[in-house]
């Protein structure tokens, strides 16, 4: 178990290192001198040369990479070109907003997805199953930003039930959470149904029913527990997608989260924020995938034992 844990952690570090390499080199081939962008079009050549030297941008690219990586490991992501604040502060404050939104969306996706999937599987072949699965197929195919706009039109403008934008209260996060979570709820519902149907046809379910257990006990305790692995796989990979997908919903509802901040920085070509933001989210995603991977071993002893024996 310890060996497996260590291997996965080392792998995750390797992945983060590779992502940092790709992020740095891809974003550094961006056309235009960042110093010129930062200082504006009226800056003279001497000032540009001085600031370029101060920022270390006249050094070879590999030295720039290692100093960037070294600084980042110490929590220094650089300074924003236009906001004149440390990038890490900007990222952290906007991430907290995104985390709230993504958290609501994720809880909605998992709870709704699993409930819908279980209900559909238990009612397999009946109209309930068909209706739920048809809705979920539409849910998977609808873009989050479109759902967000439709929710704004119906809930905010027609019925005036919830705020149209902003982050003033918890209420403000409900619609963005639904818009962001719908697609993932639909995909979790589909996988839950498939996995449950697989398990419900097993002999041990028949045994549980034959010994007189109540229907819901069999469904929850015997079937759902054994159907969890594929659900965790999908739910785990959705975590990262929800976090990055929040960018689409944030721009509709004007939520100052990390996604909106990243899009704004891309538009103003604020390289340190783009670079730092990409790394920040990527690292969080890798950590989440690692946690999910380790969660498997808790849920499924076969993986734990298999890894141990190998």
């Amino acid at each position: 178990m310890t060996k497996y844990l260590l291997k996965r952690v080392l792998q995750a570090i390797g992945v983060v290192f590779c992502i940092s390499l790709i992020t740095f080199f891809v974003l550094n081939i961006v056309p235009g001198n960042p110093v010129e962008i930062m200082l504006g079009e009226f800056a003279d050549q001497a000032t540009i040369a001085r600031v370029t030297h101060e920022m270390g941008l006249d050094q070879p690219i590999y030295i720039q990479y290692f100093s960037w990586l070294g600084n980042m490991l110490q929590g220094n992501f650089g300074t924003s070109y236009f906001q004149n604040k440390p990038v890490i502060d900007i990222l952290t404050s906007s991430f907290l907003v995104t985390a709230k939104l993504a958290g609501i969306a994720y809880i909605l996706a998992v709870v709704l997805g699993v409930v819908v999937g279980v209900v559909a599987a238990v009612n397999h072949g009946k109209w309930v199953d068909s209706v739920l699965m048809t809705i979920s197929v539409f849910g998977i195919s609808a873009p989050a930003f479109w759902i967000a706009i439709i929710l704004q039109i119906v809930i905010c403008l027609k019925f005036n039930l919830l705020p149209l934008s902003g982050i003033e209260s918890f209420k403000s996060f409900i619609l963005p959470g639904i818009a962001l979570g719908t697609r993932y709820a639909a995909s979790i519902a589909r996988i839950t149904r498939t996995s449950m149907l697989d398990v419900l046809s097993q002999d041990y379910i028949r045994t549980a029913e034959a010994k007189g257990l109540k229907g819901w006990v069999v469904t929850i305790k015997h079937a759902l527990r054994n159907a969890l692995i594929p659900i965790i796989t999908i739910a785990g990979s959705d975590l990262g997608n929800i976090l990055t997908g929040s960018v689409l919903v944030e721009s509709v509802f004007s939520i100052p989260g990390i996604g909106k901040m990243l899009v704004d920085s891309i538009n103003t070509r604020d390289l340190p924020i783009v670079q730092g933001g990409v790394m920040y989210i990527a690292v969080i995603c890798v950590i989440m995938y690692l946690v999910v991977d380790l969660l498997y071993t808790v849920v499924d002893p076969r993986i734990r034992l298999g890894k141990e024996s190998s």
Binding site: P143, W146, I149, L243, T244
Partner: protein, 289 residues
């Protein structure tokens, strides 16, 4: 006895698959929709009643009517014509980026599976790196560097989307390379290139067809998302994502402007997804039984 044997006609893998696929009504309807969408994209100039970029400022935000079936946008452009041309953008991005992703994915997957050892370790690690990428985020980063534009979209989505294909092909090839006919080819002097192209490729074809069909809707969704964020196609080119983005200030007065492009995305993505599911059911021998 002899006559009975004669009746047992030989059916190829593809004809069995087609027979199974034909029976799946949903998949057949989706195939029809996909073909229709492809025809719309191909013959857009013939179908669209107006120039998609022609601005008639006196006809701003007209509701759907006989003259403009889907109404007009904030610059007086015909939404129906823009939806038709938007179909071109969506399908071309979906299909071309998937071709790029498939070529890279197949090459990587086959090299990892066939050669094994260190090659496999390196490629498997790369697959892991690219799978850990938050896809949309890196697509945004690449579009930030390359700038908006159709060719840049093909490249960004193609270069990022190969990992899942590579993983599946690697698995297929690891299984296939133990087959006797591969040994036979090696013994008769066939080199690696010949084995990969002539023997492994046809046997991976069903996996590739399914991954491409299921990859297209993802790419279409990513294109719509990037265009929505202003990082996709260049204005004034019509894209369903950018149309939804531009419709935002008018959600009170012109609801149709936001709704219609979204429905176009849903129909297209849904058709490709269901077609992909149908193809998987028909082409995968394990699912057939």
């Amino acid at each position: 006895m002899f006559k009975k044997k004669k009746d047992q006609t030989y059916q190829s893998y593809w004809s069995i698959s087609w027979n199974i696929f034909k029976k799946n009504k949903v998949a057949m309807v989706c195939l029809f929709i996909v073909i229709l969408l492809c025809l719309i994209a191909l013959f857009a100039p013939l179908i669209a009643p107006y120039d998609p970029n022609k601005q008639v400022l006196t006809d701003r935000l007209m509701k759907p009517c006989g003259q403009h079936w889907f109404g007009t946008d904030d610059l007086g452009r015909d939404i129906f014509s823009r939806i038709i041309y938007g179909c071109r953008v969506s399908l071309s991005v979906g299909i071309i980026s998937q071709i790029i992703a498939t070529v890279i994915g197949y090459t990587m997957g086959v090299c990892a599976g066939y050669f094994g050892g260190k090659v496999d370790s390196v490629i498997s690690f790369l697959i892991q790196v690219f799978s850990s990428f938050p896809f949309l985020l890196f697509a945004m980063a690449i579009m930030f560097v390359l700038g908006p534009g159709l060719i840049n979209l093909y490249l960004a989505l193609g270069l990022l989307g190969w990992a899942s294909t590579a993983r599946l092909i690697r698995g297929d090839v690891m299984r296939l390379k133990k087959m006797e006919y591969i040994d036979a080819c090696k013994v008769s002097g066939g080199n690696s290139f010949r084995i990969i192209m002539k023997h492994l490729l046809p046997n991976c074809l069903s996996t590739l067809i399914v991954t491409v069909t299921l990859g297209v809707p993802n790419a279409i969704m990513s294109e719509a998302s990037l265009s929505f964020l202003g990082l996709g196609v260049k204005a004034p080119m019509a894209s369903w994502g950018s149309m939804i983005s531009f419709s935002q200030p008018y959600i009170r007065s012109a609801t149709y402007y936001s709704v219609i492009p979204g429905l176009a995305i849903i129909i297209t993505v849904l058709a490709f997804n269901m077609l992909g599911d149908g193809l998987r059911d028909a082409l995968d021998p394990k699912l057939r039984s």
